[in-house]
């Protein structure tokens, strides 16, 4: 069966982002970009399913600018067989992304779509669930274990109280949590091979999806800064401060 893995190009998780002086957004010029960590986990899961013989083809897809080809190449170096770039310069919101992904799902007919549970830039955690709703598929979000069994998939989910396991009919949508797997590193030969794998570009307009956001970002500010307090010399001093100064115990 075929798996579709939507991935996103984001600011590398090690970068401490800075808000632009004009409050229009965050500084993205000359900032290191990478594949969203949760998307790496999604690619890894697809690759493991292929290694187990459950999956026959992995298609990576991204919606973004030309630069996002880099992340598609990474996905192919990690094991995706081919990839699709839906090109747009628009700040697409998750609903529009999900609509574009739906168009790809209709064309590719995957049995599984594996996404990250959230992108570490927008932190929205919406795209997978929206895609599932638009396509009428069942969803297993925040997955920490995925077991495909015939025409069903069992997904163990990380929830506030612990774990929940659900069973979904295929085709289904899965979004990955951190502990689903530990992604591998791409080897040099695989990086070379990935350069020859097919990468198709589709323009957003061809899909007939309106990417213009209906939610306007009015401004982006730095959070209230928290200044470092004081160092205490002993546990005794700490307890006394907590009791008498902060009055929290």
């Amino acid at each position: 069966m075929k798996v579709l893995v939507p991935i996103k190009r984001v600011v590398d998780y090690n970068v401490k982002v800075r808000v632009k002086a004009d409050n229009s957004g965050v500084e993205l010029a000359n900032v290191k970009m990478a594949m969203n960590p949760f998307c790496e986990i999604a690619v890894e899961e697809a690759v493991r399913l292929k290694e187990k013989g459950v999956v026959t083809e992995i298609v990576a897809v991204t919606i973004g600018s030309k630069a996002a080809q880099e992340q598609l190449r990474t996905a192919m170096a990690l094991g995706a067989d081919r990839s699709i770039l839906i090109e747009t310069e628009e700040d697409a919101q998750p609903l529009a992304i999900a609509k574009a992904l739906k168009a790809i799902v209709e064309k590719e007919q995957p049995q599984l779509v594996i996404l990250g549970k959230q992108a570490i830039d927008g932190d929205n955690s919406q795209t997978g669930q929206m895609l599932a709703a638009l396509t009428g598929m069942g969803q297993g979000t925040f997955a920490s274990e995925v077991v495909v069994d015939g025409d069903k998939v069992k997904v163990t989910r990380e929830v506030d109280g612990g774990f929940q396991t659900v069973e979904l009919k295929l085709p289904a949508v899965i979004t990955t949590d951190l502990r689903l797997n530990e992604p591998r590193y791409a080897s040099l030969p695989n990086i070379m091979k990935a350069k020859k794998k097919p990468l198709d570009t589709v323009s957003a307009a061809d899909l007939g999806v309106d990417f213009a956001p209906r939610t306007k970002t009015l401004k982006v500010e730095a959070p209230a800064a928290r200044s470092a307090g004081i160092k205490v010399a002993s546990v005794e001093e700490l307890v006394s401060k907590l009791k008498n100064e902060a009055k929290v115990i």
Binding site: Y13, K16, V17, V19, V26, P94, L95, Q118, I120, D121, D123, N124, Q126, Q129, M130, A132, A133, L134, M137, G138, Q139, T141, F142, E158, V159, D160, G161, G162, F163, Q164, T165, V166, E167, L168, D177, P213, R214, T215, K216, T217, L218, K219, V220, E221, A222, P223, R226, A228, G229, I230, K231, V232, S234, V235, E236, L238, V239, L242, V248, I249
Partner: protein, 309 residues
Amino acid sequence: MGILVYAEHDNSTIKGATLNVVTAAAKIGGDITVLVAGKGCGAAAEAAAKIAGVSKVLVADNDAYGHQLAENVADLVAELGKGYSHILIPATTTGKNFAPRVAALLDAEQISEIITVESADTFKRPIYAGNAIATVQSSDSVKVITVRATGFDAAAAEGGSASVEAVDVAKDAGVSSFVSEELAKSDRPELTAAKIVISGGRGMQNGENFEMLYKVADKLGAAVGASRAAVDAGFVPNDMQVGQTGKIVAPQLYIAVGISGAIQHLAGMKDSKVIVAINKDEEAPIFQVADYGLVADLFDAVPELEKQI
């Protein structure tokens, strides 16, 4: 038009986060209706009717909603939600699971994890693990919003007297089913509701050493949390993780023990009122946000702390 608030509950009681969402709804302004969907959830509905500021409670009591399966709950909320100007859902794992489905079904762009209400269509929400705060304005006719509990005070759980109305809508999408769940049991307060949280990181070295934190927690009536490193290493279960991808807490007092202070961890706790850090490395970034920092070996400091409180 009115606001529909989705209640998080365990069929018998209303979960704390619901009360914070009611406060967010009150800030937007308008009649507040609370929807309690579950199986055998009459007691939870009664409790919801007592929340101050709520004018009506809708109860959808049906097998289909027993385990809060996203496919079924979203169909219900999307159908009932059409008549409201806003649908407010707690940003818990339950809420985050089904809310985007509701938004997609209503062709609305969801606004995730708001922390303030600026006006009926404008909200603030953290992006980039809380390193930036975006002010966003929605032009959707129905606004589907998840609410981060730490951004709002809890509404009073008593004092209201809303009417309770049963809704007879059974939605079973038929694509998913519940298999099992494994919920952690603890006599300590819930992480997201506790006034004091004490968390351990990789510095704790193993699960047994967390006993030291449990002892302090029990003396203080605190909840115990952890960094991702401590969870990944198997010291403690996943439901204890605090951070960008774990739980967001903002207690009166947060004590970080053997935690370095990575941005992803800070994202989950930096709105705490008072932060204490105990770390043997005086350069650890956690000290940059700590009100009181103690540079010490945790294996000396924590037992000492337990003695002195």
